[in-house]
Amino acid sequence: MTDATSVDSPRTTTVAVEKPARNGLRKALTSLPAIIFYGALLVLWELASQFGWVRSFILPGPSLIAQSIALNWDSLWSNTLVTAREILIGFLVGSLLGFILALGIFYSKPLRTIIYPGVVFLQTVPKVALAPLFLIWFGVGESSIVAITALICLFPILVNTVVGFEGVDVNLLELMHSVSANGWQKFRMIYLPASLPEIFAGLEVGMSLAVVGAIVGEFIGARAGLGYQILMANSRIDTAEVFAAIVFISAVGMLFYFGVRLLGRLLVGTRANTRTARESA
């Protein structure tokens, strides 16, 4: 008997039959290599630290970082809340803006020639150098950081939305045209749902950049946050605390990133199946 999964190994064409077996054990087995890999990495890292292969002021071992986390729990936690809020707001503002600009680009050629260079410019300009402007325009504090965060994560969402919109099946558009759907209806019923895979790819990248944005923003001007804490710890040459803060940033980043991913899977999920559906059906 042939194995249908041979059609296309990474994405089985007819997984339907095997599905029940899959969810439990198989899923666990799938993440096993990752657990082993990262586990081994952690152990190696700890050994490297214990045996002094890497000096702890350059790269402290996991146990030292854990100690520092325990010691600085309160400040890490409160700074995490600050940074998390900045990331979230910045991401929301940035994605919305990126999305809206993408609409401008998509629906208007003149706007496209206006928006693209401006956005590319803002994207490539080192934000640190623009810090004074940010402070003047957005004020000292969270709003500046949110602005930087939004600016930094806007672009991938913009580009991917445009690519998604441009890739929409023209047949569907003709269908909508033939029933005299207005622009908003085409947008709502076709463009938006059809572009969700690309938009979410943009949101994933954007979210990862929002984390960077918030930290950079805090480097430039802040009263609190994990980026701020990194600066402070660094000036004290407390590398363990620097890494403790990095652990928290990464945790926040991963949480948000995989949150966006999950949301995407939930919204696009049914489609992913469709895409792997059989030809004639």
Partner: protein, 329 residues
């Protein structure tokens, strides 16, 4: 790991070109007034005279210098004395072998029209500054000496570029900055300057440090390097214009005039009563003690400090007195 390979290089064992001893140095910052003594020594052949070839690299803060020197990536580094002290409490043994800045070159500046003219006026105001820099600690120390509690001030972390903008646009009431950074600012005439030194805080700032291992293995090299550098420092003080011009020819994007201006502005922190008495480059034990006391009081230090291990005047003292004497004007 690269780290292992690099640290296995025997410190002081490398040879440079033409039989010269290779010395590697990580600066605390991009080429600026702190770099000038090294550039002067290089330009005037002091290193060569000592049989040394200097290979230096720009930096991004004293903390990185500390880490790279301690890990054996480079032989020497420059950074704040407070970095050396902090490092010690983290078990990182480094020794300052030359004191470049005798005093903290920091100030709190306010707009003249703000009416803030004295430290006392700062109560309840906001100060923007790089909170992670030595300058911030110096500001805190000065406030403490003036009897102002940290909680009475609203500190905002602002990168150097952002401080003056925030100040002039009224986003903050005051800015904590390196005084030298003011040299080129066209805001100079519109601001009040409150230096931490005038507030009574005399603490060492930028130092030249290395590892105890290098000192033990190759004290001669350290001595020669320090001697040449001290001579460079003296040369820079003697001829800021000439050395600045020489340095401008050695590094990209160095502007001789503004370099000279900032260096001259900082000179008062390099040369003071202590150097009049002891010469350039010498460590002022009192100043180091005051700094440790203050850092402890501010809760910046997590362990005990043994100052006898943090700096040594042994090498500067081996430099001819004449080579390190430069009287205050």
């Amino acid at each position: 790991l690269g780290g292992c390979a690099a640290s296995s290089d025997e410190p002081g064992g490398s040879e440079g070109e033409g039989g010269l001893d290779l010395v590697t140095l990580r600066h605390s910052w991009v080429p600026d007034q702190i770099t000038l003594p090294y550039a002067a020594a290089k330009a005037l052949g002091f290193y060569e005279e000592e049989g040394i070839q200097l290979v230096d690299q720009p930096g991004n803060g004293g903390a990185t210098s500390v880490q790279l020197v301690a890990n054996g990536e480079v032989m020497f580094g420059t950074g704040e004395a407070s970095h050396v002290i902090s490092a010690q409490t983290k078990g990182i043994e480094l020794v300052s072998v030359m004191q470049q800045y005798q005093e903290q070159p920091n100030a709190v500046i306010t707009m003249k029209d703000s009416g803030i003219e004295d430290w006392d006026d700062l109560r309840g105001k906001s100060i923007g500054g790089a909170v992670a820099s030595s300058g911030h600690l110096a500001t805190l120390a000065a406030l403490q000496l003036k009897g102002i509690d940290e909680s009475e001030i609203d500190f905002v972390n602002l990168s150097p570029g952002a401080q003056f903008a925030a100040l002039s646009e009224g986003q903050v009431d005051a800015a904590g900055t390196f005084l030298g950074n003011l040299a080129a600012l066209d805001l100079k005439d519109e601001v009040n300057i409150l230096t931490v030194a005038d507030a009574g805080y005399i603490a060492p700032s930028t130092s030249l440090f290395t590892t105890p291992e290098l000192i033990e293995k190759n004290p001669d090299l350290v001595e020669r390097f320090v001697r040449a550098t001290v001579k460079g420092l003296r040369a820079a003080l003697e001829d800021p214009k000439g050395t600045s011009e020489a340095m401008a020819g050695m590094y990209a994007n160095v502007n001789a005039e503004s370099l000279q201006a900032t260096f001259e502005m900082d000179s008062r922190f390099l040369v003071n009563d202590f150097t009049d008495e002891n010469g350039l480059g010498m460590h002022n034990a009192d100043a180091w003690e005051q700094q440790v006391e203050m850092l402890t009081e501010l809760g910046e230090l997590t362990g005990d400090v043994d100052l006898s291990k943090a700096f040594t005047n042994d090498f500067v003292e081996k430099t001819d007195k004449a080579d390190r004497s430069f009287p205050q004007k």
